[in-house]
């Protein structure tokens, strides 16, 4: 069993989920509350990673983050190493890849809050931050948790993007899904089965935890 890959995968998924929550909460809040005519564009852009095949998305990121572009060189200068083929590069790729899985549930959750409530809070003088912190987040807490868990599990199972921008480097970018691919290519089906089972078990436990929690909540509310 490739424990190094397991460790790396968990770190990557946790980091990605955290970064995504930090990005997606403000974005979803903006989408929910804005009257700007740019809203459809922003919504479309945050959904776009769902449409591109992951390897294609990975290829574009590879070219963008490589040292042949200004962006890639700027990152390399700033970090001291190229962003692609490093753990931080994987985080950037995973964040883009899983962005819809954070923004969609959050937007849906914020939208489901009674607009009258938001209007009243505004009339009583609540600022945007307070509105988010004391009305939207507490009332759509299930969507927030769902978004975090989805981002985590989606990153655990990510393959195409990591294959392209990772470079399969043990300890830095060889995640569980890449390790499974390697094992299948090598005809080590038994090892691949064991690793896949572990991957499934992790995702299953995370999802059971999520749904059990929701179930518990529903019952305690009823």
């Amino acid at each position: 069993m490739d424990l190094q890959a397991l460790w790396l995968t968990l770190r990557l998924a946790a980091t990605t989920a955290l970064v995504l929550m930090a990005i997606a909460v403000p974005v979803a809040f903006w989408i929910t509350t804005t009257r700007s005519r740019w809203r459809p564009l922003v919504e479309a852009l945050t959904t776009l990673p769902l449409l591109l095949p992951p390897t294609v998305l990975g290829f574009y990121l590879l070219v963008l983050l490589g040292d042949r572009t200004f962006v890639g060189r700027a990152f390399a200068h700033w970090l001291g190493h190229p962003l692609a083929f490093s753990f931080s590069g994987l985080v950037v790729g995973s964040v883009i890849y899983s962005l819809p899985f954070a923004v969609q549930p959050l937007t849906a959750g914020f939208h489901s809050v009674d607009p009258a409530l938001i209007e009243q809070a505004r009339l009583l003088g609540a600022g945007r931050l307070r509105l988010l912190r004391e009305i939207l987040l507490p009332l759509s807490i299930r969507s927030v948790v769902a978004a975090a868990v989805l981002c985590f599990t989606h990153t655990v199972g990510e393959f195409g993007v990591v294959l392209m921008i990772g470079g399969d480097i043990p300890g830095a970018t060889r995640t569980l899904s890449i390790a499974i691919y390697d094992q299948v290519q090598d005809f080590s089906y038994a090892a691949a089965n064991r690793t896949s089972l572990l991957l499934l078990a992790i995702s299953l436990v995370a999802l059971i935890a999520l749904y059990a929690r929701q179930h518990h909540q529903e019952r305690s509310r009823a």
């Binding site: 946790a14 983050l65 083929f85 975090a148 470079g167 300890g171």
Partner: protein, 261 residues
């Protein structure tokens, strides 16, 4: 309130997990030699890397992918020292992008194409005539567009004047290892696969093969380059020499890769 506490708990859990220290592999020498290796080397290379480490004290890590993916990654700055490709066209592309120390790919091995079938596939005899007969309904080959063994398989079928006749039977795999999987899993009755795959214990146990005469297709020459600006340039050159020493060339031949010359 307890809802919020749960959220804080979840976030803290994620935070603590993301802050866990990176696990470092036990170092043998400080910086390993990083090899980008074609997928067909996966069954062959690991023991050679170990022998190299024993002899020189230099640890070498290999990443296995298709030569096309590896070439794209190297051209875009992947931190590899040495590129062992499955043909010479991909190293050539790296050279043209100005990413190689060499001006010509260094041939390090020659691949052998074989025709393979499962013992229970119902194919009576593995010969060219069988492919056009009704007994064979599906043939796995690697994608001739970008896989060297796929190109060789296509050239062979052309040489045998049966490419058009068997075209409806062809099952195109992404790479040569996948072609072997198509055949081994029974999804294709026969397969044009690499000798390196055919000699793995699994495929040896499941089926049998006949080598394709080397004159029936252009040689499958595998080329290498040392990546320009490699951190371990010296070690990379040493490994290339090591690959061509008689003892290692002998090992490679036993696993399905003949010496290049």
């Amino acid at each position: 309130m307890s809802d919020r506490r749960r959220l804080v708990f979840t976030l803290l859990l994620l935070l603590s997990a993301s802050c866990l220290p990176a696990q470092r592999p036990a170092p043998l020498s400080s910086a390993p030699l990083r090899i980008a290796a074609a997928a067909d080397l996966q069954p062959v290379l690991p023991p050679i890397l170990q022998a190299f480490a024993r002899q020189t004290g230099i640890r070498a890590d290999a990443s296995y992918q298709s030569s096309a993916t590896l070439a794209t990654q190297i051209i875009n700055g992947a931190p590899f020292d040495l590129f062992l490709a499955a043909d010479t066209s991909f190293p050539q592309r790296v050279i043209e992008a100005g990413r190689a120390e060499e001006t010509q790919p260094v041939p390090y091995a020659r691949g052998t194409l074989v025709l393979w079938t499962r013992n229970d596939s119902g194919v009576p005899a593995l010969n060219p005539e069988a492919l056009t007969s009704g007994a064979v309904r599906s043939i796995a080959i690697a994608n001739p567009e970008h896989a060297p063994y796929g190109r060789a398989a296509q050239a062979t079928l052309e040489h045998w004047h049966m490419l058009n006749a068997v075209r409806p039977k062809l099952r195109i795999a992404e790479n040569i290892a996948q072609a072997a999987q198509y055949a081994d899993s029974g999804n294709a009755q026969v397969g044009f696969i690499s000798l390196t795959s055919a000699l793995t214990p699994r495929l040896k146990a499941d089926g049998h093969f006949t080598p394709i005469p080397p004159d029936d297709h252009p040689p499958i020459l595998q080329g290498a380059i040392v990546v320009r600006g490699a951190a371990q340039s010296q070690a990379a050159h040493r490994f290339l020499e090591f690959l061509r020493t008689p003892a290692i060339a002998h090992t490679l031949a036993a696993e399905g890769l003949e010496p290049a010359s």
